[in-house]
């Protein structure tokens, strides 16, 4: 009679292995950040004083200026474009509203190489000027791409879509009613924008900006190539150049402080979004028709970021890759294969762990599990350089212990087991990109309401069958999305790959970086183009899901 015990969907302690697994995963994934923090604490004051007197001011100043510039730029491009495409009607609006997302597919370091190739002394533009005017070096002024200002422009061009995306969603959610109410209360439409629409969208804009600033802080490829000294370049230089783990960790610790502020800012404003959004999407947002010169100006304004953030650099990349670069040979296939299988493996790991964590939270939603999921998802804010150091330090320590141990017993030197292998790389990717896959899976699982589980059970399904017949078909889409996003993010990732890759193991991103560092910008085009093209897939999916959501509401 007691053959069937209580169902797993009723509360029972049997699922606790999931809870334990969730806590365990969170603990493992938090190792890198803990290692950095511990090194900050145990590092002696001497190192600190040295850093303080030499490079710190430089790093802080450059990082702050970079953040300020990129933040301002992303705001100035993202918010108006979002407003125009969501609330106004003008020529090309439909196309632009998704085309404005395209620059997301281009990593900052790739756009930096491309523009350097175009605008530096030996590039086609300056060459053309010299040919036409007959001037030679030093006789004319031309802006220097490889500068702090250049870095700001590059990062702005590819990061503004975060602000655009978030503020556009906020604008679309504001019902036309809100604005109409303000008109009946005597506000002009301009005044309504500044007094109502903008403040209402503020939490969303701040969320977008904090994501932009996190990416700015995490950037390594651009600032390194432009010789702008920031934390990320400083950390890697101290770590590689001087082998000084303590100093690198101290710097990473200061960088963490910046990141922590941004995380708090982001969490807080995400929280506020919930209060500010009506939750109801108004079906009929009547758009303001922009005619004549105003319409043309708006069209041009919205075209500029697409042109400079995507069309121009990608066009140049295509031209170089097809007509100028060395024909990619066998080693290019090897490079692509390395990148793809690494990205695929990392995606599989991150998504499997996400599924486990999401089910842990669904089946026992208590504080420890929720905290674990929160910690596991923190990596998105951590720059790859920090994760790389936090990964290599403990793994190297572990390897050396293991080598000593095995040598002691067998007399053989087994070499590095964890730190010099793909294991380290995959671990760092998982830490860094866990959040995006968690988000996608959680989103999908959230749509399967608990009552659907119960409906399935009361219609005669066992828990296993509920998973198979209800959850699997409904989750398929989100899981594929999660796999795709992680895949592409890993493909683009530069600093962690650079630090952690096994000896002589190259990926597309690393190869592009190396070629660019050797001033072979044109030869860097094929791997760069490959990254951009693969990166386009999730952007297209994203823009399609946005436009279909709007179709539904219309």
């Amino acid at each position: 009679m007691v053959d069937s015990t209580h169902s797993s969907f009723a509360r029972k302690p049997n699922w606790n292995w999931l809870k334990i697994a969730a806590i365990f995963i969170a603990a493992i994934l938090s190792i890198p950040i803990l290692v950095v923090l511990v090194n900050v604490l145990i590092g002696d004051g001497e190192v600190w004083r040295h850093l303080y007197h030499t490079v710190l001011a430089d790093y802080v100043q450059n990082s702050l200026l970079l953040m300020l510039g990129v933040g301002f730029g992303a705001f100035a491009i993202g918010v108006p474009c979002a407003w125009f495409t969501s609330m106004c009607e003008f020529r090309g609006r439909k196309f632009l509203s998704w085309a404005l997302l395209l620059p997301m597919a281009v990593p900052a370091y790739i756009i930096a190489y491309t523009y350097t190739g175009v605008f530096d002394f030996a590039g086609p533009v300056q060459t053309f000027i010299r040919d036409v005017t007959g001037w030679s070096y030093g006789e004319y002024w031309f802006f220097e791409v490889r500068s702090l200002g250049g870095a700001i422009v590059m990062l702005t061009l590819v990061l503004y879509p975060y602000v655009y995306l978030m503020s556009r969603a906020a604008f679309l959610e504001q019902s036309a009613n809100t604005l109409e109410v303000s008109r009946t209360l005597g506000y002009s439409s301009q005044k309504a924008f500044f007094k109502l629409a903008l403040p209402l969208a503020r939490p969303a804009i701040v969320t977008g900006l904090s994501l932009v600033l996190m990416e700015t802080l995490a950037d390594y490829g651009t600032v390194q190539y432009f010789s702008v000294n920031t934390f990320t370049t400083g950390i890697l230089r101290t770590f590689y150049g001087f082998g000084d783990i303590a100093a690198a960790s101290q710097l990473a610790g200061v960088l963490l402080l910046f990141v922590a502020v941004l995380i708090l800012l982001e969490r807080y404003s995400r929280h506020r979004i919930r209060y500010h959004s009506s939750g109801l999407r108004k079906a009929t947002n009547r758009r303001i028709e922009l005619k004549g010169s105003r319409g043309i100006l708006t069209t041009v304004f919205c075209w500029l970021p697409v042109l400079f953030g995507f069309i121009l650099p990608v066009g140049v990349l295509i031209y170089w890759a097809l007509f100028k670069a060395e024909l990619p040979g066998w080693d290019f296939v090897q490079l692509a294969w390395n990148s793809f299988y690494l990205a695929a493996l990392a995606a599989l790991i991150a998504v499997s762990l996400s599924l486990l964590l999401c089910y842990a939270i669904r089946l026992n939603n208590d504080r420890s599990v929720r905290a674990s999921v929160g910690i596991a998802g923190l990596g998105y804010a951590l720059p790859g350089t920090i994760i790389a150091i936090g990964t290599i330090v403990p793994l190297a320590w572990l390897d050396h212990r293991l080598i000593d141990l095995i040598k002691y017993y067998t007399g053989e030197n087994v070499g590095l087991i964890f730190s010099g292998t793909l294991f380290a790389l995959l671990f760092a990717y998982t830490v860094r990109f866990m959040a995006v896959s968690l988000g996608a899976v959680q989103n999908g699982l959230g749509k399967i309401k608990p009552s659907m589980d119960m409906a399935g059970r009361s219609l005669g399904l066992s828990p296993a069958k509920v998973l198979k017949r209800i959850h699997m078909p409904l989750l398929k889409g989100s899981v594929l999305t999660a796999l795709l996003i992680v895949f592409v993010d890993v493909l683009k990732e530069l600093p962690a790959t650079l630090v952690l890759r096994p000896f002589n193991f190259n990926t597309l991103a690393v190869r592009a970086f190396e070629l660019a560092s050797d001033e072979r910008l044109i030869d860097a085009a094929p791997p760069s183009l490959m990254i951009v093209l693969v990166g386009l897939v999730p952007v297209i999916l994203l823009s399609r899901s946005i436009s279909s959501r709007i179709e539904h509401s219309n």
Binding site: H6, S7, M452, A455, G456, R457, S458, L459, S462, P473
Partner: protein, 356 residues
């Protein structure tokens, strides 16, 4: 082993002293009731009173802390044992409808029929679609249906495998009033047609009155009263039931005989003995239709506010004692606020509670 009394055998479901709770806190305490074959029961109570938890316990999604649940005389839940929900033959309609978005309407309804031969399952689906008035919707997907249509499909899906008992958790809460009025008689008819017992959970007494044969009024985890809708309205057994069901006021009164009380509106007589001792201070339940506008009455009150309800006025009237009560008047008796009107009490049955 003692033989069960004959009426016990006919009960589809019996709850005996059922308590349910999470980690120490008790949500439902000592609930006992029964449902006979074909009967429609209703757990009625304010939100948070534990009625949904009790429903989930019956469906097998909650563990009992004490007591037991029987179906057809067979134990299906005790604190140490719980038959899995999928084996209980209990259907359920959920508050948020919970149709499976990835399946067509036909597949949704056939979801619980996987063990049936293909042809009879198809037949059953077609029959149910006709019963709920949605023939021809087989190939549609849930998102293309309106709320009322989805609700009907959810019902069809739940009753498709011919469960012994159908549970419905606030099934009409997401629907507008007009739709609900249409749907309720339909569902009653369908249940009767399928000879199915049902248990409904709601906080809306109108819903309970129109659906249920038997109402179980719940508050703070306790079942206060079991009875027909008429009984719980006219013969409430506890103060909570009296105030939760319908409009009403408690008029302070003093017992002055076996079937009589004295109040600000004079001596009031009932048909039956009320069982309170003389001079006991009590609160008498007065429904709006118990106090009538009567120009000849010696008792008067001042109108505080009024509501026009078409066929009648609902006045709030302040008595000389300061107590404010409802008063019904036909819509021909249009009086202004502040005016004094005569009142008389017409009560068959005295419902009262010791003064608090």
């Amino acid at each position: 082993m003692t033989l069960l009394p004959p009426h016990e055998v006919l009960k589809v479901m019996t709850l005996t002293n059922v308590s349910v709770g999470y980690s120490g806190s008790v949500v439902v305490e000592n609930a006992s009731f029964q449902l006979s074959e074909g009967q429609i029961g209703c757990l009625l109570g304010p939100s948070g009173c534990g009625k949904s938890t009790l429903l989930r316990a019956i469906a097998g999604f909650e563990i009992l802390m004490s007591g037991d649940i029987k179906m057809d005389g067979k134990v299906i839940s005790t604190p140490s044992y719980g038959m899995n929900p999928e084996h209980r033959k209990i259907g359920m309609v959920f508050q948020d409808i919970a149709l499976f978005p990835h399946l067509t309407i036909a597949q949704n309804i056939a979801f619980g029929l996987s063990a049936w031969p293909k042809e009879s399952a198809e037949e059953r689906v077609a029959y149910l679609l006709e019963l709920v008035g949605l023939s021809g919707f087989q190939m549609r997907y849930p998102h293309s249906l309106s709320g009322g249509q989805q609700q009907r499909i959810a019902l069809a899906r739940a009753i498709a495998p011919k469960p012994k008992l159908l549970l419905m958790d606030e099934p009409f809460s997401g629907l507008d009033a007009k739709l609900r009025e249409e749907l309720v008689p339909d569902i009653r008819k369908i249940l009767q047609h399928e000879k199915m017992s049902a248990l409904l959970v709601t906080h809306d007494q109108m819903e309970a009155f129109s659906m249920a044969d038997q109402v179980f009024v719940m508050d703070a985890g306790v079942i206060h009263q079991t009875g027909s809708p008429y009984q719980i309205y006219h013969e409430p057994e506890t103060r909570f039931v009296a105030s939760f069901i319908g409009h009403g006021d408690f008029l302070p009164a003093t017992v002055c005989g076996a079937n009589c009380v004295h109040s600000a509106l004079g001596n009031i007589h009932g048909d039956l003995d009320h069982g309170f001792a003389d001079d006991t201070k009590v609160d008498l339940l007065i429904r709006p239709d118990d106090i009538l506008h009567d120009d000849d009455s010696e008792f008067v009150g001042v109108i505080v506010s009024k509501l026009f309800r078409g066929s009648h006025f609902l006045y709030r009237v302040k008595l000389s004692s300061g107590k404010v009560v409802y008063c019904f008047a036909s819509s021909h008796h249009d009086h202004a606020v502040g005016q004094e009107i005569g009142l008389s009490v017409h009560l068959d049955h005295l419902v009262m509670f010791p003064r608090e």
